[in-house]
């Protein structure tokens, strides 16, 4: 059914998803791909909030953490199966997002930036200090592997199939949302709240909805992360991670699904490529990232793959390839 609806690009995507781990045998490369895919889910979540709905959140890593801790604790302390943990992680992060955004978005949307920073800080303090529940700074080790209907993902290739499967479903679902009335309402709110209101769009509802969905995706990513690294610790979800996630969404392209994919691949891949390379470049990394954000905002606020029409040709080609893999009628 999936194939019938989405046509050959989805089929090609599925074939690639199955084939990549069979062709790439280097476990390290596969691991890097797996982490990139987890961050791609995070970047898509951030992108829904920032790119499609125009809100700045600076605490995405905290929702990532809510998902990771929910999943890890349910698995370790209560022996829940992975799929249940995964669902609960999305639910918990989404609930946190809804509860946070509902009161503040009624008031003014730049409060959201503050409130997400506050939440991130409180999240860190709570997981670090509530030792009885989270084991605090010791971290939560021994999280079981991902397991689906009795089949356990043991090798990096098998983990790739699970994470890649989730990413494909996420992209498919988000594409459906943003190409229909819901996505248009988000974009309308982003571009002009008053005009959106005058057309009958409930602005607060649209914002809370976008924020909550972004947080649900972060929760899912958190669950995958916890069961891939098999440990969670408080400092894995600190402010720096939030900044990296935001950079992924912006670099790839705001309001662009292939963009988030590219952004995550670049932001995870480049530091890996530089790992044993030039130390200067690594020290300069935050500054380079910052300069990139600045330059993008001035010259190309739509990101590498955003608003494709006016992108340089080589990016057009690249994006056409990426887009062909995952979505049929992406608009930008």
């Amino acid at each position: 059914m999936l194939v019938a609806r989405a046509g050959w690009p989805a089929l090609a995507g599925i074939v690639l998803l199955i084939a990549i781990p069979l062709m790439v045998t280097d476990r390290y490369v596969l691991y890097v791909l797996n982490i990139s895919m987890i961050f791609a889910i995070l970047a898509i979540g951030q992108n829904i909030i920032t790119g499609w709905c125009g809100m700045l959140t600076l605490g995405h890593a905290a929702f990532f953490g809510v998902g990771a801790y929910t999943s890890g604790l349910l698995a370790v302390d209560h022996g829940w199966p992975f799929l249940a943990c995964f669902a609960a992680a999305g639910l918990a992060a989404g609930l946190a997002g809804a509860l946070l955004s509902l009161p503040c978005l009624r008031v003014r949307s730049d409060f959201l930036s503050l409130i997400t920073i506050a939440f991130a800080q409180m999240f860190f303090v709570v997981v670090n200090n509530w030792t009885e529940l989270t084991r605090g700074p010791m971290g939560l080790p021994r999280i079981p592997r991902m397991e689906v209907f009795g089949w356990t993902a043991r090798t990096e290739a098998e983990i790739f199939w699970v994470i890649g499967g989730v990413l494909a479903i996420v992209m498919f679902a988000v594409h459906r949302l943003v190409s229909g009335p819901i996505g248009r309402a988000w974009e309308a709110v982003r571009d002009d709240e008053n005009a959106a209101r005058a057309l009958g769009i409930n602005v607060t509802h649209a914002k809370v909805q976008a924020f909550t969905i972004g947080c649900v995706l972060a929760g899912f990513a958190g669950s995958l992360y916890a069961h891939t690294l098999r440990i969670v610790a408080p400092e894995m979800f600190f402010l720096e991670e939030s900044l990296i996630i935001m950079q992924m969404a912006i670099l790839g392209g705001l309001a662009s699904l292939p963009g988030s994919l590219l952004g995550a691949a670049l932001m995870v891949g480049i530091p890996e490529a530089l790992r044993s390379g030039n130390e200067w470049l690594i020290t300069l990394r935050p500054g380079i990232g910052g300069a990139l954000l600045l330059a993008m905002m001035i010259w190309r606020p739509q990101g590498l793959l955003g608003r494709l029409r006016d992108a340089p040709p080589f990016l057009l080609a690249l994006s056409a390839a990426l887009r062909g893999l995952f979505v049929r009628r992406s608009r930008r």
Binding site: Y28, E235, E279
Partner: protein, 385 residues
């Protein structure tokens, strides 16, 4: 301490053996060194690299390990757990490494260990003190540093038994390191029948205003301040105590044993007691030799990471020359008693060092001085079951 960048650049990713022994028939023995070489914790990685540099030079000058030159490859995990797992995957790609020396911080070690355990790669650790690590049942792990919970007991015992204080004021960096020490310290205080009169955490790297904590401690009748944090905040705390005109003894771990602690305190650190996992001023030839070489070469105090890293290479030389292989390396190490620059080491079955005591260092006339005192452990036996 600002890291001299030139040195990082000059130290190559592969610390190769000198040319004189390259002609040997058998290939080199590879060791993987993993830790934060860049980022906010790069100072630790730098110390590990310095310890490595001195050890590799010394060992290869004397003909390597059993005739084979020692060669170290450096892997950077930036102290980020997901990077640590990536490093582990990279190390696990091939089986040429005798063992992994790392990682530095506990979370990174915890994230990387499942991968090493699966591939049966031996891990010899210099500095991850989180008690959880040796309680996971991993058989490929051994460490040289003292467990954090044991450390917290020792610091408390020194404050209560040696200094005769009864009202502890516990300050902790609210991160994995400080929080864990604080939790164990509260338990230890109970066993020692001392009172936790003050208990205050702060956000490391951000919070630098300790005036409210200091006033609170003073009003609560705190008579000894237990600093569980890095030398940066420790130094500032001591300085602000002095600013507030309050002086009670300070007791802290060897994360304070840096010149920067003295500089930042601007005199406030005078009289502070530091419990070091090794004694840099011990009158033992191994220690003296190491200290002299290190200070001539780098013009600074070696940290615990540097000393233990240095010792690990010599430990490897010893057990490998006695016939250990990658398969039984950890087993052999656990069965060894070893004397190095950082003192005497022996291990229990879990891979923790045993029978090590802390060296008591005192700040006198603006300098660290070894006292030769030892911690009076009265009351701690209640915590060991």
């Amino acid at each position: 301490m600002s890291i001299p960048r030139r040195l990082i650049l000059a130290s190559p990713a592969v610390l190769a053996a000198p040319a004189t022994i390259r002609a040997q028939a058998r290939g080199p023995i590879f060791v993987a060194l993993a830790g934060p070489m860049t980022g906010g914790s790069a100072a630790f990685g730098l110390n590990a690299q310095r310890g490595t540099e001195l050890a590799v030079q010394a060992i290869n000058r004397e003909g390597g390990i059993g005739g084979q030159p020692l060669q170290v490859e450096v892997f950077d995990d930036r102290s980020v757990p997901r990077d640590a797992a990536a490093v582990a995957q990279r190390i696990a790609r091939n089986d040429r490494f005798l063992c992994v020396l790392g990682h530095v911080d506990s979370s990174s070690t915890l994230a990387a260990m499942p991968i090493y355990a699966e591939e049966r790669i031996p891990v010899v650790n210099a500095s991850s003190s989180n008690p959880t690590i040796t309680e996971q049942g991993w058989t490929n792990f051994v460490r040289l540093t003292i467990r954090g919970d044991y450390g917290a007991q020792q610091y408390s015992a020194y404050a209560v038994n040696n200094l005769g204080r009864r009202n502890l004021g516990i300050v902790f960096a609210n991160n994995d390191f400080g929080r864990a020490l604080r939790n164990d310290m509260v338990r230890a205080a109970q066993a020692l029948s001392a009172r936790v009169a003050g208990d205050a955490g702060f956000t490391p790297n951000v919070d630098r205003d300790f005036s409210a904590i200091i006033s609170q401690f003073r009003a609560a009748g705190v008579d000894v301040v237990m600093l569980n944090c890095s030398y940066t905040e420790g130094g500032l705390f001591a300085g602000q105590m002095r600013s507030a005109g309050w002086s009670v003894p300070i007791v802290g771990p060897d994360t304070l044993l840096y010149d920067q602690f003295l500089a930042l305190s601007q005199g406030g650190a005078e009289g502070a007691w530091i419990m070091a996992a090794y004694d840099p001023y011990a009158e033992r030839p191994a220690t003296r030799g190491f200290m002299d070489t290190f200070q001539t070469r780098f013009n600074t105090l070696p940290s615990q990471v540097a000393v233990f890293t240095f010792d690990i290479y010599h430990l490897l030389k010893r057990v490998v020359e006695a016939g250990a292989t990658r398969a039984n390396l950890i087993e052999r190490i656990k069965a060894t008693r070893f004397e190095g620059a950082g003192g005497n080491y022996s291990w229990n079955a879990r891979g923790d060092v045993v029978n090590r005591t802390f060296a008591v260092i005192n700040v006198r006339d603006g300098r660290f001085t070894s006292t030769g005192l030892s911690v009076n452990e009265n009351g701690l036996e209640r915590l060991r079951g």
